[in-house]
Symmetry: C2
Subunit: 472 residues, 2 copies
């Protein structure tokens, strides 16, 4: 493919892209594909000779597209969204074309310096104290792993990196029973052992109970453990429960324990001043992560990780072989030393495009509208008589179940709601997922796709009511 052919095809795709985003609503949200239906249509061996682009694009449309779950469909209410936006997609086009690998300052100064500035912008937008410094990670899983490793090194005086676990200290970690699986994953990777991760009981709102955290930490100290890190959730994955940062932070400061705040999804809501109560006490934290790729209109992947002690972070990861040595010294950041991976995409560009295109007020308007839609629907559910909310709705994640009169057995309700979920998703008209709250099978409906409007929510609610009635 020469560059003039590339130009032609890029124009074809420009139209395809705009058409796709326009028509995505007409596609089934969750792919109706059955296991192995796609792969069975793909040749078992690669072609020896090149094929014309037309054939590849045509196969993309006929084989791949029906196998996609459409995350940018406005009726995608599943998981947490990974929303994007036109300016973000445009930036990704440029990032792909530049094809720069941004591991060090010299490998693209603009990528490094734009990243530094964008993280400052984000910090201001979500009202983080200026004592925090940011860096882009790929995902919150990686950012949380960075926090765990930095805590491990900081509190072991950087001896575990050097000598392994030879100091005879057994470190313990803490999160709520509702915390994200990435914490357990990070604890395992770091060699701390799942047995030393204490999952702290939650209150009736699914938020961590500081009194139990304090007691557990004290017990651990008495039993000879060294409490290392507490991960507080600002917005759990199940129900966006908000762990109370201030009392948790005070406990951490009292016992000199690292406090990491996982606000992967809900952190974007901090662009709205009315939600800043969620991080009251943030000055007591050591690190904080949220994902602009979830709810801030920025393409996956783009996770914003903030730390107070940059030196501890860099000292945890820095390795300087000869072939990476450069001469700019401490005047520049070399972000390869700020995380797990050496190679890095130019991710700051899409943040710049998104923030400038919408402006802070444009982003605020979008997020406020999502929250408003969710609050209204939550009201309908609460008043319905046949459905019930199963958790508070602080933001835009609604946890509920169908609970018709006459059925009181939780097991029967669980089976009924599992059936309801599958029936709904099979329509292709919307996509919800589930969780379990206090043993109850819970439908989760998250209103966060960039283009979701009242109309989509109304149709979803109508379909849910109607489908539920047919199930009994």
């Amino acid at each position: 493919m020469d560059l003039e052919q590339f130009r032609t095809h890029a124009h074809e795709l420009a139209d395809w892209m705009a058409d796709y985003l326009k028509e995505v609503e007409s596609l089934p949200v969750r792919s109706p594909s059955i296991p192995r239906a796609i792969i069975s249509r793909l040749p078992v061996s690669p072609p020896l000779e090149g094929e014309p682009f037309e054939r590849i694009l045509s196969d993309f449309q006929s084989i791949i597209l029906p196998g996609m779950t459409h995350w940018q469909h406005p009726s995608f209410f599943a998981y947490f969204p990974a929303n994007s936006s036109p300016p973000s997609i445009l930036a990704e086009m440029l990032t792909a074309t530049l094809g720069a690998q941004c591991m060090s300052w010299v490998t693209s100064p603009a990528a490094t310096e734009l990243e530094e500035r964008m993280m400052e912008w984000l910090g201001q937008m979500i009202a983080l104290p200026p004592t925090f410094t940011g860096v882009i990670q790929d995902t919150a899983s990686t950012a949380t792993l960075c926090a765990i490793l930095t805590a491990r090194e900081h509190y072991s005086f950087h001896t575990i990196n050097q000598r392994g676990f030879t100091d005879g200290v057994t470190y313990t970690a803490y999160c709520s029973t509702e915390a994200h699986s990435s914490i357990e994953k990070g604890i395992k990777i770091a060699g701390l052992g799942k047995d030393h991760l204490r999952t702290i009981e939650v209150d009736e709102h699914y938020a961590m109970r500081p009194d139990i955290l304090a007691r557990t930490i004290r017990d651990d100290i008495r039993n000879g453990y060294r409490p290392l890190i507490v991960t507080a959730a600002v917005g759990t994955t199940g129900s966006t429960a908000i762990d109370p940062l201030r009392p948790i932070g005070e406990i951490c400061r009292e016992h000199d324990v690292w406090l990491h705040v996982d606000a992967a999804f809900a952190g974007s809501a901090l662009v709205l001043p009315e939600f800043r109560w969620m991080i009251d006490g943030i000055e007591l934290a050591d690190s904080f992560v949220f994902n602009p790729h979830k709810w801030l209109l920025t393409n996956f992947d783009c996770s914003a990780y903030f730390v107070k002690n940059v030196e501890a972070l860099v000292r945890t990861f820095e390795i300087l072989p000869e072939y990476l040595k450069t001469t700019e010294g401490t005047r520049v950041n070399n972000y390869r030393d700020w995380g797990v991976q050496l190679g890095r995409r130019f991710r700051a560009l899409k943040l710049w495009f998104v923030i400038r295109s919408y402006g802070v007020s444009g982003l605020q308007n979008t997020l406020r509208s999502h929250v408003r839609l969710a609050q209204k629907l939550a009201g309908h559910i609460a008043e319905s008589g046949t459905f019930e909310l199963l958790a508070p709705v602080p933001l835009n994640t609604i946890c509920f179940r169908y609970h018709p009169a006459g059925i009181t057995d939780d097991q029967a309700l669980n089976a009924l709601n599992a059936r309801l979920l599958e029936t709904l998703n099979a329509t292709g008209k919307l996509f919800l997922t589930h969780t379990k709250l206090s043993g109850k099978f819970t439908l989760r409906l998250v209103i966060g796709q960039t283009n979701v409007q009242q109309d989509h929510v109304t149709r979803a609610w109508d379909l849910i009511c109607e489908t539920a009635r047919t199930l009994g």
Copy 2:
């Protein structure tokens, strides 16, 4: 930005992209930017109101572009390339538009099944034994970390994930003195301790010496250590030295040690049958990584990680919270359990576009041409009289230095060559980097950008000769 505006801008960018790739040769390869020159032109705070796209694009061109190091410039000879190609960029446009998060099969069946097939294609293309199963990771750093963690769990009978390092065993790891920094990083992250990473002496070709590896492992066993993992390099970063897999593999099998093969860069050359000698003995390995994003015309990031024991890999990383439970069972892969991150971009699409657009023979032709150019230049250097090769050139990485008659002192030569490197790079006409080999400051010239031709290499060599003469 509504969708019609998006369409318009996407078309503008389609032209910008084709123009950029056409004109990139006229830009300085390494950015001439000085530290903080870019960031000082970026407002310290985000805009409150949205800005028109024209202004953003114009700032991109005037502020960001001069701060880029142009990795897709054919005279980019630095590091290892991160080459791309028109079909890969087109695929990235689609990936960004779909905006799918491909953590589980259900979150996009096509992404999962295409990934499975593409890894089968790649395995066949590089002649890996079919006992290996592949998965896409972001970078080789992450893949190597996966290998270390899987080895840790496999040989600790999955107890370290559970209990931490409480079994009283001290594990040791091995790589050559020339191995990549990601190995040390992974050893640290996994909690094994840098002190337990043995760096094995290399021979005169910078390849690991199996006799010393065998002796070191035996000594470690005698001293009560448990040898865990050997990472062999097929193509070291310094000079693409090839560690001899077969004798290393035999030692690993004798002592039941995990053998991981890091072929991050050189692995792409295995599409050429004449280079398959590099992995003679691969059947003795447990895992293997190479990066199509380095030298197989596929945009960064896309690292292909192959393992024999998928069950051990998945068991190392799998965590199944309620909100991720699905119903397809073992009929499908859920790649979230095959690595560190939960979230995953749709990376298989660009592999599909690249392999089909070029065909295996097209990719072979491109790589062969790079190797041929490098071999020819290496010949010129060897015959020059004033330059000398400092390492064998098995592929397309040339390690050399200027060594004019009369200077015999290595320190003087090091200073001279450092000056030569900086003088060359400051011209903007090419970009080389350096390493140290046996204490000698070594210029590295890697011929691997997609569009590099004889002409670029000739001009580079002329400029190197000419510049060297002016320095003395």
